[in-house]
């Protein structure tokens, strides 16, 4: 960190939208070689501020200085010219194109009228090496992992000569290993003289990598602090506006009979790859079992098998003692299995349905929501009104389309719907993905509440911290099998990490 | 029930009124012009040229429309000619679908027109219905026979004319392969097809005719692709009887000749003298169907007050209702023309009976 002129200086930026002040005279400075975290809840105004810096919005008041010179950024091309690059949360890549083709898209090096792929490819390879990105320039986007795709996005900005990189929630889509690697890349970038603004609401990452943190709440800067002079609790409090407990108050579990029993479950993909490879698992009443594992080791398929969304080839799945393998999704739900799905937009909600319609997505055909062939609007609306209050779903009204609600409130609506069906087994897949600290806390509390009421809870998450904090028992999944079970109080990140990588017999001691 | 129905009708009406309001107000404010007058200047032609007759003649085309370069156009041109000769008032309505025939005919009949022309076989049913409902109106139809006391029907012996162009084709072909493209399978087009085949066979027993159908009268693109197939399979002459669809055949043939293929390809025109439109280089001859003569004759009868309702006229070779145009000389040798004349006389004398179906 140098004390000279900051590379970016935002001065008193104000941006109003109809009915709301998104940014209220926000000031922020970014120094050369600094990683500056921007922390705030969903909807606090982080994205608006960065969109202003990237030229997508114009501020109503305030000014921007780049390298000490006042500038007016009225479109992204200008921002790119000024050396600003943005790594979006949702990648903007052409799937069937190669890495090189994606990177040069829009500014292809020419040799006559032809695109000079050779030199482009060489340039990409050089960049990759310089920053330790380890990307193969000739791979197609559709063939590489999410983490690699993100690196392509980073290279796109570097290729355009960016010195100031904005990362928008970069870890939301990554596995723990990929997060580690991304951190290393970011360190490398600043070491090479780049400056980074990191938008996130994950405190752990901020503590680990950032130099300074600016906390925004409701469009206002609450504080800017040096990372090494603060702690997660203080940051969370500043972000949410009240004290947040990370320590989850859990009493000893009161474990009852087995609710969910999977025995030697096998599932193969169309092209014969084993997705579930003789999986055994048991979840008892009154306990939360966490499934830890690297993405793609059968978590999704496990949930689809239990909930009836995908057929298994062999084995047995029992819920409450009853065989449910390969029954229809509806039969399984009716036999007492609740499911908070992994992807709430894709599976959990019909985004263009109203809140009240979404809250009866699984029960609309039952009394009192239907009478004969007809829906009973009054009952549906009453139900919605009750749940919105009970689960604190913040929405302008029950007729609002869920598409316009924030992620946290969407998730609350799903959880309300699933818990209200009073299932004996609740499956929660990535229940806190993309949520802010306050919302995460409330989701965790609800899972524990269910467990205390004597329900069985199966939690699948890529967030190791979440698994460690919430679960009573941890099962590690690797290549379609449960390779070991541990108690959270008897293990640590390192041991779990090794088990998740398939090296469990060297590191940990399996419980069974 | 009745009440609600009335109510809904009123609402319909109101809605259309709103539309009317939208349409009328805005442009009126902009242009400031009067809404009266100027309504007849467009298609009713110049009224001042001659005042010999003030008869009002209407014409309803089939789906082809008055620019089909075929019989609709032929009929319309006859009325245009009469307009400049005797100053009749004339107007046409183009039918967008078969459901439009009746309302379009009614538009003229109920508008007090002295004669309403229905052009095309497809209008037969509609003409019959309108004629029966309006016994005082005068109508006339081309290509179909309508049994009503106030309708004159004109049909043509297309088989005879087609026979003659078949003779031409049979004598001209070098590959002994000839194509026929029909619009749609209907009795009228069938007459073209069988007459043509008979003519080819009579003049050149070795030649074969491949009949195909485009399925539409208004699809030049289909005509072009069918022609391309036929020429590719070795045919060097195609006779399209398919209205506008035939324009695509001319287009294909012209393109091929320009590209300089091994064999020169020809098209035989239909209904009108199409060499005037597409040129002698590609139009071997045409099977003229003198729709214009029929339209002119019967319209003149109405002007003169001599309209004979219920009459059915079949125009044959003898009446010069069908036949080859003068311009055919450009491409045909005297030998061929003599042969054509010989067959013509045989048909007229009854020595040859040309099949019709």
């Amino acid at each position: 960190m140098s004390a000279s002129t900051p590379v970016v200086e935002l001065k008193q930026i104000t941006k109003r939208f109809p009915g709301i002040v998104a940014n209220d005279s926000i000031s922020l400075t970014l120094h050369k070689g600094e990683i500056h975290a921007l922390l705030g809840e969903n909807g606090a105004g982080k994205s608006t501020l960065m969109n202003i810096l990237f030229g997508l919005y114009q501020p109503d008041e305030g000014s921007i200085e780049i390298g000490g010179k006042p500038v007016k950024i009225d479109n992204p091309n200008k921002a790119i010219k000024l050396g600003i690059g943005m790594v979006h949360q949702h990648f903007k890549l052409v799937q069937p194109f190669t890495v090189t083709e994606n990177i040069i898209l829009g500014m292809e090096p020419k040799k006559g009228v032809n695109i000079d792929y050779k030199s482009a490819s060489a340039q990409v390879a050089k960049l990759s090496e310089q920053y330790g990105l380890r990307v193969n320039p000739d791979d197609k986007i559709q063939d590489i992992s999410v983490g690699m795709q993100q690196r392509v996005e980073i290279m796109k900005t570097l290729f355009r000569g960016a010195d100031i990189l904005i990362f928008d929630e970069p870890t939301a889509v990554l596995t723990p290993q990929e997060i580690e690697e991304l951190m290393a890349i970011m360190r490398r970038l600043v070491a090479e003289g780049k400056s980074i603004i990191l938008i996130t609401h994950k405190l752990k990452e901020i503590m680990e990598i950032s130099d300074r943190v600016t906390i925004i709440r409701r469009g206002k800067v609450i504080d800017t602090v040096d990372t090494d002079k603060t702690n997660p609790n203080e940051l969370a409090e500043k972000m949410v506006g009240r004290s947040v407990s990370f320590e989850i108050d859990k009493t000893e579990p009161n474990i009852g009979p087995a609710i969910l029993q999977l025995n030697d479950v096998k599932m193969t993909s169309k092209d014969g790859v084993a997705l579930l490879n003789g999986l055994n698992l048991e979840v008892k009443a009154g306990e939360i079992v966490g499934i830890a594992g690297v993405d793609g080791n059968g978590q999704t398929e496990l949930i689809e098998a239990i909930t009836g969304l995908r057929k298994i080839d062999s084995g047995s799945i029992k819920a409450g003692g009853k065989e449910i393998a390969n029954l229809s999704a509806r039969k399984i739900a009716e036999s007492g299995v609740g499911h908070i799905p992994e992807d709430r937009h894709k599976h959990g909600l019909v985004l263009d349905f109203s809140v009240s319609e979404n809250l009866v997505l699984k029960t609309y055909y039952q009394a009192p929501y239907s009478k004969g062939s007809f829906l009973n609007r009054n009952a549906i609306d009453e139900h919605a009104q009750e749940l919105v209050g009970k689960y604190d779903v913040r929405t302008p009204g029950i007729e609002t389309k869920v598409r316009s609600m924030s992620g946290g409130n969407q998730q609350k609506a799903i959880i309300a719907r699933e818990i209200e069906m009073n299932p004996e087994l609740l499956i929660a897949a990535q229940p806190t993905r993309g949520l802010d600290v306050g919302a995460i806390e409330s989701v965790h509390r609800q899972l524990i509440e269910q467990r205390d009421m004597g329900k069985a809870v199966l939690l699948v998450s890529f967030e190791l911290q979440e698994i460690m904090n919430v679960s009573d028992r941890i099962a590690v999944i690797f290549e379609g099998r449960i390779v070991g079970e541990v108690l959270p109080q008897n293990t640590n990140d390192q041991e779990l990490g090794l088990m998740m990588a398939g090296c469990w017999d060297q590191g940990g001691q399996p419980v069974e | 029930m009745k009440k609600t129905l009335k109510l809904s009708l009123v609402m319909l009406l109101a809605f259309t009124m709103i539309l009317a309001g939208c349409g009328n107000n805005k442009p009126a404010n902009n242009s400031g012009s009067s809404t009266e007058g100027g309504s007849t200047e467009a298609s009713s032609g110049d009224n001042t040229a001659s005042t010999k007759s003030n008869a009002k003649i209407g014409l309803v085309t089939d789906i082809g429309g008055v620019n089909d370069k075929s019989f609709n156009q032929s009929a319309w041109e006859a009325l245009e000619a009469l307009n400049s000769e005797s100053g009749i008032e004339h107007k046409y309505l183009q039918s967008g679908s078969s459901a439009d025939y009746i309302p379009n005919l009614n538009q003229f009949v109920q508008g007090g027109y002295d004669l309403t022309w229905a052009i095309g076989f497809d209008l037969g049913d509609a003409t019959k219905q309108v004629a029966d409902a309006n016994p005082n109106a005068k109508l006339a139809i081309i290509d179909s026979v309508v049994d009503a006391p106030n309708v004159q029907s004109v049909t043509f012996a297309e088989n005879e004319g087609s026979f003659l162009v078949g003779v031409v084709a049979g004598l001209t072909t070098k590959t002994n392969k000839i194509g026929f493209i029909g619009g749609a399978e209907s009795p009228v087009i069938k007459r073209f097809e069988v007459g043509f085949i008979a003519g080819v066979k009579a003049a050149n027993p070795d030649a074969t005719v491949t009949p195909t159908y485009a399925g539409a009268y208004d699809k030049p693109d289909i005509g072009k692709s069918l022609a391309s197939q036929l020429y590719d399979s070795g045919a060097d002459i195609i006779f399209p009887a398919a209205g506008q669809t035939g324009n695509g055949v001319f287009n294909e043939a012209t393109a091929r000749n320009k590209a300089g293929g091994a064999t020169k390809v020809w098209v035989i025109g239909v209904d009108k003298d199409q060499s005037l439109e597409f040129g002698d280089e590609v139009t071997l001859t045409s099977m003229m169907k003198r729709v214009d003569v029929a339209v002119k004759t019967i319209t003149q009868e109405v002007i003169d007050g001599k309209f004979e309702g219920g009459k059915i006229t079949t125009l044959t070779l003898k009446d010069d209702g069908v036949g080859l145009p003068e311009t055919s000389k450009a491409n045909l040798s005297q030998e061929v023309l003599d042969k054509v004349e010989e067959y013509k006389q045989k048909i007229i004398s009854g020595e040859i009976t040309v099949p019709a179906e």
């Binding site: 894709k346 019909v350 985004l351 | 009328n24 078969s98 379009n104």
Partner: protein
């Protein structure tokens, strides 16, 4: 009262109205450039539609099949399906109705008419279900299958009519008996071809609304249409819903065909090409924003423009080609709402500012 005000000032009403206005203005400009008087043209358009009871009746006749096919396309769309095959379903509905009406012409009217209607609807529905089944079981895109089935339907219908019910020497089926027709109020509309199908079309729109928004099955269909993955997750059977939605969509289209036969023509033509009802239905559904009542309104608009266009031609002499441009521009503006919203933007901004204050 306030609620009504809100509804009328909402985007859903203002934007289409402004779109119509813009379309009429552009149409007027085109006519001015072409040398025609747009005020006259629009005046004659309205006159043609509401001028006489006959024309008004015929306009209703024109609108009726548009409501049916519009509902058909809109219903499928609400269930996440793009039914391009309404045209084929119309033909199949026609054919089934014709077959029933001609085969059992001895039955009394009270039995024959309902039987014929049911046959038409059912046949259209089953025909559409083929595409639904292929999508549900084999994952074949319904756009492709419905387009292909259009052709199958065209040739199949023509085959049936030609081989079993052809009126000799004509290009159509025999006339269906009076016992199988369902015209009504004919005298009120001076013998315009008004029929009960219009009432049934309006009832169909009500059914559409109630079914989709008030019943369990409709809820499922909308869920499947908006997010089939979520529907599957919620335990709904996506495949069954797809087939069911296509069936109902096809019933609407089939009924359009039924009433064209037993209400309007009283016979079935052999179609040279696809009659185009289904494609008009796509435009109507789009204009009506896939809402049943919107479809009724847009069908009225579309029907008024189509039927009234002959008035522009008759009264103001605007040629059919230009009329197509005028109608096209109106539809363009409604479909391209983004442009309208852009035009309206200054007004909206003003309104919002007022609200903030």
């Amino acid at each position: 009262m306030n609620k009504w005000r809100k509804i009328f000032l909402s985007d859903n009403i203002i934007v289409p109205l402004v779109a119509i206005l813009l379309g009429l203005l552009v149409g007027a400009a085109v006519m001015l450039i072409g040398g025609y008087n747009p005020i006259d043209a629009y005046r004659f358009l309205i006159k043609r539609v509401v001028g006489t009871p006959y024309d008004f009746g015929e306009t209703i006749r024109q609108i009726t099949p548009l409501i049916f096919t519009g509902l058909s396309v809109a219903f499928a769309f609400r269930s996440g399906l793009f039914n391009i095959g309404a045209d084929g379903q119309v033909l199949i509905g026609m054919t089934a109705s014709t077959a029933v009406a001609l085969s059992w012409s001895g039955l009394p009217s009270w039995l024959l008419v309902p039987l014929s209607v049911i046959a038409g609807g059912l046949a259209g529905g089953l025909w559409a279900s083929i595409a639904g089944y292929l999508k549900a079981k084999r994952g074949i895109n319904e756009v492709i299958t419905t387009i292909m089935l259009n052709w199958t339907a065209l040739y199949f219908s023509n085959y049936v009519i030609r081989h079993f019910y052809l009126l000799k020497g004509q290009n159509r089926s025999e006339d269906i008996g009076a016992s199988a027709t369902m015209t009504f109020l004919g005298s009120t509309f001076s013998n315009a071809r008004v029929h009960w199908g219009t009432v049934i079309a309006l009832l169909a729109a009500v059914f559409f609304f109630v079914y989709l928004w008030k019943t369990k099955q409709g809820y499922e269909m909308r869920a499947v249409g908006l997010n089939s993955k979520a529907a599957e997750y919620a335990g709904m059977n996506v495949g069954t819903n797809v087939v069911k939605a296509m069936f109902i969509s096809g019933v609407f289209a089939g009924l359009a065909g039924t009433f064209e036969v037993i209400g309007v023509f009283h016979y079935q033509s052999v179609f040279a090409a696809s009659p185009g009802y289904g494609f008009d239905g796509i435009a109507v559904a789009l204009l009506g924003m896939n809402h049943p009542f919107g479809v009724v309104l847009s069908a009225i608009l579309y029907g008024v423009l189509t039927y009234g266009s002959a008035g522009m031609s008759f009264g103001a002499g605007v040629p059919p080609e230009l009329i197509k441009i005028v109608i096209g521009s109106i539809i363009f503006f409604i479909a391209a709402q983004g442009i309208v919203r852009f035009v309206l933007k200054p007004f909206y901004l003003k309104r919002k500012k007022e609200k903030v204050m």
